[in-house]
C-alpha cells in the first residue's frame, strides 16, 4: 500500500482512510488517536479517543471527565486493530504518557512520533526507536544551531545563581505539563530539599505526576493569602506567561529564568527579559532528530511542525527521501 494512502493530512489533522481515524486532530472528529496531553495535540470534543491511560487522565484533568464521548486506553507496545489497520503505541519520551503511534496496513508501517526527545527524563518513559517505512518527525528544533546541553548542568547553573543571589527569588518559567515537573524533579535529584513554590496552574498536573510515582518533594502554592509573603531565596515555578503578569509582583527583586530549548538563542532570552536562560527542552535537538531518523531505518521522512526545510535538506544530503507535511493548528513554539 502506498504510504500516502495510509496516512495523509486533512484540515482536521492526519487521517487514516482505511482505519477511519485521525491522529492528534485539531478539530472534533469521530475517532481520534492522541499522542500526548499538550493542548495543541489533545483537544476535547471527539466522539472517541484512543490514547495511553496517562494521556487520558491528563485530558480529563484539563478538560473535565466528559472531554470525549468514549475513551479507550492503549497499553504501550500492544497492537490494536482498527478496521483492519494495526495500531500500536510506543514511548516518545516527551512528557508523562506521551507515545508515538505506529500505523501498519498491508505491509506498510508509518510511525507518527508526535513530539519526542532522547535526553533522559525521570518523569517519563524513554523514547524507543521503531523500525518503519515512513517516519513522521517533529522539527521544533530542526536547525543545526539547536544543541541541548545536559539538563543537569542547567540545573546546576540555577542552583549556583540561587546561592549567588540569596536575597532574591528565582522565578522559573516552565510549561505546566511536563517541563515544570521535570525541572522540579531535576532539582530534587540534586538533593535540593527546600519547598518549591508553584503557580496555581501547575497544581493539579503536579499532583497527578506525584500520584504516578514521580516524587517532586514538597510543593507549596506561591500565594500570599496564607500570610506567607516572604519568598526571599525561594525557587518558584510557574507558566512563563505568569511572570510578565501582575502575579509576579509578590516576589522580591526576582531573577526571571525560563526553561526551554529556545533559550539556546541569546536574543530569544534577551527579548523575553530572561536573566537566567535554562536550556531544558522536551523536544529533540538537531543531533537527536538526525540520529533518530537514521535509527528508524525509514526510507521516507515526513517532517511536521517546526523548521521543516533544514531537516528536509539534511535528509537530501543523506539520500533519504523527505518532504514537509503541512499540518495546520500545531504550535511551532511550544517548549
Amino acid at each position: 500500500m502506498r504510504a500516502a494512502d495510509l496516512l495523509h493530512p486533512r484540515p482536521e489533522g492526519l487521517y487514516c482512510p482505511p482505519g477511519d481515524f485521525f491522529i492528534d486532530p485539531v478539530r472534533p472528529v469521530g475517532r481520534a488517536l492522541i499522542t500526548h496531553g499538550h493542548s495543541d495535540h489533545a483537544r476535547s470534543g471527539h466522539r472517541s479517543v484512543l490514547a495511553t491511560q496517562q494521556t487520558l487522565d491528563i485530558m480529563g484533568l484539563r478538560y473535565g471527565e466528559d472531554f470525549a464521548g468514549t475513551t479507550q486506553a492503549a497499553r504501550l507496545g500492544e497492537t490494536i486493530a482498527l478496521n483492519g489497520v494495526s495500531v500500536s503505541f510506543h514511548p516518545a519520551g516527551h512528557v508523562l504518557g506521551s507515545a508515538q503511534i505506529s500505523v501498519e496496513h498491508q505491509g506498510t508501517r508509518i510511525v507518527a512520533s508526535g513530539d519526542y526527545k532522547r535526553q533522559r527524563d525521570a518523569t517519563c518513559v524513554p523514547f524507543e526507536p521503531i523500525r518503519c517505512d515512513v517516519f513522521i518527525t517533529e522539527a521544533t528544533f530542526g536547525l543545526p544551531v539547536f544543541r541541548h546541553p545536559p539538563d543537569t548542568g542547567e540545573i546546576a547553573r540555577l542552583l549556583k545563581s540561587a546561592a549567588q543571589f540569596p536575597e532574591r527569588s528565582h522565578l522559573v518559567g516552565a510549561y505546566a505539563l511536563g517541563k515544570a515537573q521535570r525541572v522540579m524533579r531535576l532539582l530534587r535529584d540534586t538533593g535540593y530539599d527546600k519547598p518549591l513554590y508553584i503557580h496555581g496552574a501547575l497544581a493539579r498536573l503536579s499532583e497527578y505526576y506525584q500520584s504516578q510515582g514521580i516524587d517532586l518533594g514538597i510543593l507549596e502554592p506561591a500565594t500570599v493569602e496564607d500570610g506567607k509573603d516572604d519568598f526571599t531565596g525561594a525557587i518558584v515555578v510557574g507558566p512563563p506567561s505568569a511572570f510578565a503578569d501582575r502575579w509576579a509582583r509578590r516576589f522580591p527583586d526576582p531573577i526571571s529564568c525560563f526553561a526551554s530549548g529556545w533559550m539556546r538563542i541569546r536574543q530569544r532570552a534577551k527579548q523575553g527579559g530572561v536573566e537566567l536562560p535554562l536550556i531544558i527542552s522536551d523536544h529533540a535537538d538537531w543531533d537527536e532528530l538526525t540520529a533518530t531518523i537514521k535509527e528508524t531505518g525509514a526510507e521516507e521522512i515526513w517532517v511536521t511542525h517546526g523548521r521543516e526545510e533544514a531537516l528536509v535538506r539534511w535528509c537530501e544530503l543523506e539520500s533519504i527521501a523527505a518532504r514537509p507535511l503541512h499540518l495546520v493548528g500545531y504550535e511551532d513554539e511550544g517548549d
Binding site: 543545526p144 544551531v145 539547536f146 547553573r157 543571589f165 510578565a244 527579548q271
Partner: protein, 533 residues
C-alpha cells in the same frame, strides 16, 4: 574557558548594576590567576589579540558543514559569532579530556602569526564546547558587548578587595594584564603595587547637586562660582614627554583628541572641560562637540572644523609637586599663573562668575549667556582636591530642565523588580498638517515617576494595548485617546537616527497629565525651535 564564557553569558543578560557587580566579584574570588586577570582585561578592552575577520570565520565553518544548512542557521540566529559557536561540528576523535583555560587560549592567540591564525582558531574551536567557542570567537572578533564598562569592572575590583575605587583608578594605568600584583594586593597577600609609570590618572573630584535648603545654610562669601560647561570632563596629564587625556573615569581618550594632546607642552595635571571651537573667539555648541565624540580616529578635516580645546578649572600637580592638599584658592592662583604659558588656542581659564548673594546667582543660573552652559558650579575657597563626591565643598546648580508634553506611544516591560511592570516608555509629539497630524516618537524614559504612578501607568498600558511585540506593547494614542506625559530633559541634539530628527538628553517623566487631552500635547516644531537656538 567555561567559567569566562558563563560570566559573559550572565553579564549580558543581567540588567542591574548590583547584579553585575556580584557576578564579577564572585568570578574574581573563585577563578585563579592568570585567568581572572585576562578576563578583566578582555572586559576593560585592554587585551590585545590579533583580530579575525568575520569573512574568515564564515569560511572556516562552511568548509566544515553544508553551506545551505549554515545559511538557514545564520538567518535564524542573526549573529555570526553565536551561529558559528552553535553549529561548529564536534569531531569525536578531537575532543580533548579537558577544555582549554582562558590563559591557554589567550597565549595561543597572542603567539600566532597572521598566516596561521585561521588554523589555530579552528583548532581552538575544535577543543571547546559551545559556550567556550562563543567566548573564543568574541575574543578574536573584538568587542564583547556585554554592557560592562571599564568603570564598573574597577568598581567590582574595589568591592572584591574592599578598597576605594579611586585607589584602583589611580593605579590602573600603571598596570597590565593579567594584573597579578593587583589581585595579590586586593586579596591581602601583598603590598599595594607601586606605580612607576608616567602621566598617570588622578581620580577626579565630583560635585553634588544643590538640594532644597542647602544654600540657606551656606555663606556666599565662602564660595567661588564658575559656569558649568556642558562639555566632557577631562584630565590633561603631561609628564616626561608623555601626554595623556583621561575621561573622568580614567579612560585614556588621547587618541580621539590628538590636536589637544599634541598641544600639552607643560609638566602638570590639569582638570577641566573639553569643548570645541577657539576659546579666543567662540565656544562651540553641544551639537558641535558631538561631532568629536565616540570616534576611534579623527580626520584632519574634523580637527580643523571642530578643534578641541580645554577650559581649565583646577591644577592637581605642577612638576613634581602634588597640589591636591592645598586649598582651592591657592590651586587656582597657581593655575592662573601657569595658564599664561599655555597655547591660548587650546587652553583657557574657566572664568569666575561674580555674585553678591544666592538670589543674584540664581538669576544668572536661570539665564546663562551661552547655550553650552548648563548652570553654575560652586566651589569652597578653602577646599582641598578630594577624589570622589564629598558633600559640601563642590556643588552643581543646574539651570531648570526643558519640558515638553508628549503622548505615550509604546511601553516595554522592565527588568528585575520591574519585570512585571510596563516601565519603559516611548513617547511622541504631533507632526504634520492640521487634520493629518500623526505622532512621531521623540524619546524614551524609564524613570521620574513614583511607584504609585508606575502602577497607574502600567494599568493604563494594559487597558489600552493595541498591539504586542514581545516585551513591547503599543498603546492607543490618537487625537482623541492617549496619555499625556510631561517629559523633562536637559537638552536636545540633532539626530539622523531618529525619524523625528531630534534626540533628547537625559529625558525623564516629570508629571502625568491625566487631565490633558492628547490633541493638546506639543508639536514637533516646539522641539525644533529649541534646536535652532
Amino acid at each position: 574557558m567555561n567559567r569566562f564564557a558563563e560570566l559573559l553569558d550572565r553579564l549580558v543578560l543581567t540588567p542591574s548594576r548590583n547584579g553585575k557587580l556580584t557576578l564579577l566579584v564572585d568570578y574574581f574570588r573563585t577563578v585563579e590567576d592568570p585567568d581572572r586577570g585576562l578576563a578583566l582585561a578582555a572586559i576593560t578592552g585592554d587585551l590585545t589579540i590579533a583580530a579575525v575577520k568575520p569573512a574568515m570565520l564564515r569560511m572556516l565553518v562552511t568548509e566544515r558543514m553544508d553551506p545551505v544548512l549554515f545559511g538557514y542557521s545564520y538567518d535564524y540566529v542573526g549573529d555570526l559569532a553565536e551561529t558559528v559557536s552553535l553549529v561548529w561540528p564536534q569531531t569525536p576523535g578531537k575532543i580533548p579530556n579537558r577544555e582549554p583555560t582562558l590563559g591557554e587560549v589567550v597565549a595561543k592567540l597572542q603567539a600566532v602569526s597572521r598566516s596561521d591564525g585561521p588554523k589555530v582558531l579552528a583548532g581552538l574551536l575544535d577543543s571547546a564546547g559551545i559556550s567556550a567557542r562563543f567566548a573564543i570567537i568574541k575574543l578574536v572578533t573584538g568587542g564583547l558587548r556585554i554592557g560592562v564598562s571599564a568603570r564598573l569592572a574597577k568598581q567590582a575590583l574595589a568591592d572584591f578587595g574592599k578598597v576605594d575605587v579611586a585607589e584602583i583608578e589611580e593605579l590602573w594605568h600603571g598596570l597590565s594584564p593579567p594584573y597579578m600584583a593587583l589581585f595579590a594586593w586586593l586579596e591581602g597577600k601583598a603590598e599595594k603595587p607601586r606605580n612607576t609609570a608616567m602621566a598617570l590618572f588622578r581620580p577626579v573630584m565630583l560635585s553634588n547637586p544643590v538640594g532644597d535648603g542647602d544654600l540657606e545654610k551656606l555663606d556666599p562669601a565662602d564660595y567661588a562660582a564658575e559656569w558649568k560647561w556642558d562639555g566632557i570632563r577631562v584630565q590633561a596629564v603631561a609628564e616626561g614627554g608623555i601626554h595623556r587625556l583621561y575621561s573622568r573615569t580614567g579612560d585614556d581618550v588621547s587618541g580621539a583628541f590628538p590636536d589637544l594632546a599634541d598641544a600639552m607642552h607643560f609638566s602638570a595635571t590639569l582638570d577641566g572641560e573639553l569643548l570645541v571651537g577657539d576659546p579666543r573667539e567662540a565656544t562651540g555648541t553641544f551639537s558641535d562637540l558631538q561631532q568629536r565624540l565616540n570616534r576611534k580616529t579623527v580626520t584632519p578635516k574634523m580637527q580643523q572644523q571642530y578643534p578641541a580645546f580645554m577650559r581649565c578649572y583646577d591644577l592637581l600637580q605642577l612638576g613634581d609637586e602634588d597640589l591636591r592638599a592645598l586649598p582651592f584658592r591657592e590651586r587656582r592662583g597657581r593655575l592662573e599663573a601657569l595658564m599664561k604659558a599655555l597655547d591660548p588656542s587650546r587652553f583657557d581659564l574657566s572664568p569666575f562668575v561674580d555674585f553678591a548673594d544666592w538670589q543674584a546667582l540664581e538669576n544668572l543660573r536661570r539665564a546663562p549667556p551661552h547655550p553650552i552652559i548648563e548652570g553654575v558650579m560652586l566651589k569652597r575657597w578653602d577646599s582641598p582636591y578630594v577624589a570622589g563626591r564629598p558633600k559640601g565643598p563642590w556643588f552643581k546648580w543646574k539651570r531648570d530642565p526643558h519640558t515638553v508634553d508628549a503622548v505615550l506611544m509604546y511601553a516595554q516591560r522592565g527588568h528585575g523588580k520591574r519585570s512585571s511592570f510596563y516601565s519603559d516608555y516611548t513617547f511622541g509629539v504631533w507632526s504634520g498638517a492640521a487634520g493629518e497630524e500623526e505622532l512621531v516618537p521623540v524619546g524614551k524614559a524609564y524613570f521620574g515617576f513614583t511607584d504609585e504612578e508606575l502602577k497607574q501607568i502600567d494599568k493604563y498600558v494594559r487597558d489600552n494595548t493595541v498591539e504586542r511585540f514581545g516585551p513591547v506593547r503599543s498603546v492607543r494614542a490618537d487625537r482623541d485617546n492617549g496619555l499625556v506625559l510631561e517629559v523633562a530633559f536637559e537638552g536636545l541634539n540633532r539626530s539622523t537616527r531618529h525619524k523625528s530628527g531630534v534626540a533628547m538628553r537625559f529625558p525623564r517623566i516629570s508629571r502625568l497629565r491625566w487631565d490633558k487631552p492628547a490633541n493638546e500635547a506639543d508639536r514637533i516644531e516646539t522641539l525644533q525651535a529649541l534646536l535652532d537656538r
